[in-house]
Point group: D2
Chain length 304, copies 4
């Protein structure tokens, strides 16, 4: 049996005093004020055991990690029809996503680029009377923790500065791939990204992806096939244009966010969440990527 | 001396019953309802004489033709600094303009693509207390006709459906190339495009570009150098991705609009406005392009 | 225990009379003359057992499948330095690969697009005195079958018509990412693609990727880490711009070729080769893709 | 009457000691060895008079200036059918030309990007038994000077290092837009670019473009319409992605070459050739561009 606690403690010890931690996201004050010294790791094994070290219990902004959860909420509702509005191909290329969106006639490359996640948010707005509340309750339910909530300051700051997302939503609208008002859809989108969770809460919330769709409370949120498909998208598209590199170096499905969080998982085995706010030049947590490389090297656990 | 009246009558006679007139713009009801049979030509010679045939006295939506006038209004105010925010290169390529705007970090390729004209509108909003009124008065002044006005229905429809322009403005904003609120800038932009003018009013308003910057009322609105430069931009960028073709076939600076109007001019000689609402596949007036080709062939007048 | 023989027989029976088989590659006569009715499946399990149905024993042109093998030959020689000349990101996008190659300054997106495989071929030409012979012996060794050989007619036809590959190689050369003469490198490339193998031979040759780098004859060709990394690249880049779709639908690392062959594998479990010459619009075997989807659905075996 | 001699002497005096002269082309030794201090100007007026200063009588490599002459040779032969294989739109954009060529299915954007000139060269190879000799004689005829010849060292060096042109020619071939062998077509192309001419010889050779198609010896090489059209292409496409800037700043049709030559012309008035080997970052002669701006400012002569 692999000694997970020993392994993550070793990784934490080796990396925690690293001077080169990357740059903390600075586009809104609520993110730029986060202490770059934070570094937490939490592993949730399928057998129920947990392993943790560092600031694993400090809430942080989940940001783009929320895109995997909104996709998981929308997929059982819209089923295969979801793929008429969003594709599943990697976006990896030198262009920003508006270029691709325009070239591909308003069909986002995948649900994890901003335009794709905005299209998913639009579907949730169409389906729920109170989409923000529905999404929050879904996340609380998955993590089995009612204390999780939005950071309204973050959501407001994102709205005030998120011109790129307004551009993407309007471009989707111009291609008839947005049913609701731009403002209404982005209100959900900015709030879902503003949710704050700890490493532990994320490891628990993503448990279902490693467990064939069944969450910690044994509720079947996704079919086995749906869980498998979201895992595939996380592997090929979860890390912006570093997705190939991540598959190559780490070999696990996962999702990162600009708040410095990374969640990864090995089906049938575990979920792991790492948080370190400093980002590499591709926008993924610098220490988080290093820690995950070491983790899969030391455990020899990967899907490949 | 060239017999202009005889020439435009010949062209009008030959083309007026053409069955293939292209498609009238249909994205807003106010444009789609225009009768495709309209076909007017008006020539204003530097010697003061006018020549006209057909519906030269029916007002139509000037749309993108307004971009040459807003540039002419902004250039003497901002002078050379204007080119820090907008470039002067042709955009001719297979992409829509958001792609180029993103690739080029928010600097529009030229002032006649939508993003460029929106940046110019932003400059006018920064300068004038009442930019819509200032622009309208400028146009009335140039054409020496106080009856010219906005079509508020057109402006409102453009605002309700112009998601691509909202996307462009937000993208400019995300690159810090828009000083004012998106809504405020687009309010000017949609109104400037909604102005209705006749062929005669346009020929008169553009007189200054052919007359070294001096308008019909002998007021020097532009320096000789400024007039020359706007003429150069009209030649290289005035007809979307058909600009090279227009320079090649017609050989005159000009500007077209989706309302079916085309204005062209030969410095020191004349301005000519043609209106036929049906558009070719590039978005320029189909009969208008043909008529201009015939006009320069028959008069042998071109800058080349 | 899964009854592989029963499963592949069921798939074969269901699909073998399918009318819509796609189009056989027609750009050279040697490929266009292949009978579209061919349909073979071969599975090699880690436990040594084999399962087969249909034309599993008919040699066909492996084409791009050879790219995984040339990468496997080059990787232990050049080790990490290989990634200075070729990246590992998916290329999935609407452009052909020369565009990306030019935009990215001559560094191919990954070793499985043509330009990337040509760069790998260049490395082999630099290393071996007789690179064609070295590559052929490597493939024979992996498959444990000395009868495997080039189809010289195919190689010659590719050379006579492969202008796109000459363009790619010259573009690489212009970016100083090709050490040897264009003709010499492409001579290897066209020959490696021309190799003919049966489904069985391919399942055997790819055994090492599923077996941590150790081939059927128990020789350690790749380190465990190298095998894992090539598997990751096969998953994210093995199926042109259908790679995301393949990961999503099938969930196995694999590689396809324009000859209609597809090889896929599940680490620690099996390799599977399917051959049906008709291609879908993305250039992958139409029946092959369908058969693999059914195979992973029925066996419930996937990396996700 | 404008005192041309006085004007060009003033410009020459002001610029000849400029320290910032740009970088001399360095990709082949024959060009890199040229003395950057060379600076010549030659004006040929329609009235037959010539004006000159500096190194106007030193031969230099005409390079891309030859593209206007090869187009002029091909146009009367192929007439309108030429435009089925080459377009007339500006290429101005951030990509290199292979990207555009691929996106536009092998139809070069215009005859002055390399791919377009190679397609024109292909037409000449198809038409003439000895295309190199035919082209050279045409140029000698236009300039009325039998001493003009190829620089075979330059042609050989271009062939040895011109991988980008080999890539372009092969890409054209892959799109069936090249009739002859790549090597044969590029042999003409590299030789036409290697021709050496003086400022005076170029001013004389381009006289016909300013004279409605009739050369100095009064031979009608081009129809008036053909001359006009080539002038239009020179204005919109003659200066790479600085074409808009050149039209804007200078306002004359023209063509530049990487050897540091620029030829420009005002129809009915004059041709002017400037040579200074140092290039700006867009690849056009740095002093040449400045001198032309001053020339049109001082003479107030431009097409706009």
């Amino acid at each position: 049996m692999i000694d997970f606690q020993n392994i993550i403690e070793g990784i934490h010890k080796e990396l925690k005093d690293e001077m080169n931690r990357g740059l903390v996201a600075s586009y809104i004050p609520e993110l730029s004020n986060i202490d770059a010294q934070n570094f937490g790791i939490h592993v949730k094994h399928m057998n129920g055991k947990s392993y943790a070290i560092g600031q694993w219990n400090v809430p942080f902004s989940i940001q783009s990690i929320s895109k995997a959860l909104s996709l998981a909420l929308a997929l059982p509702i819209y089923k295969e029809s979801i793929w008429e509005r969003v594709d599943v191909e990697p976006s990896g290329n030198p262009f920003n996503h508006l270029t691709l969106l325009e070239l591909e006639n308003g069909i986002p490359r995948n649900p994890f680029i901003n335009a794709g996640a905005i299209a998913i948010a639009d579907m949730l707005v169409s389906h729920f009377d109170n989409p923000k509340q529905a999404f929050l309750e879904y996340v609380r339910d998955l993590a089995n923790d009612q204390s999780i909530t939005f950071n309204y300051d973050v959501a407001r700051s994102e709205r005030q500065t998120g011109f790129g997302n307004f551009a993407a939503a309007n471009l989707l609208k111009s291609f008839h791939n947005l049913e609701n008002d731009v403002d209404e859809v982005l209100d959900l989108y900015f709030h879902q990204c503003s949710i704050e969770m700890t490493c532990e809460q994320l490891s628990n919330a993503f448990f279902m992806f490693a467990n064939h769709g069944k969450c910690l409370q044994q509720k079947q949120h996704l079919t086995q096939s749906q869980a498998k498909r979201i895992n595939a998208i996380m592997l090929t598209c979860g890390f912006y244009d570093e997705a190939g590199e991540f598959a190559f170096e780490v070999g696990l499905p996962g999702k990162s966010g600009v708040g410095g969080g990374i969640i990864a998982l090995l089906p049938n085995h575990f979920t792991i969440t790492i948080w370190s706010p400093g980002l590499n030049e591709k926008g993924n947590s610098l220490l988080g990527m290093k820690a995950l490389e070491q983790f899969t090297t030391k455990t020899k656990l990967s899907i490949f």
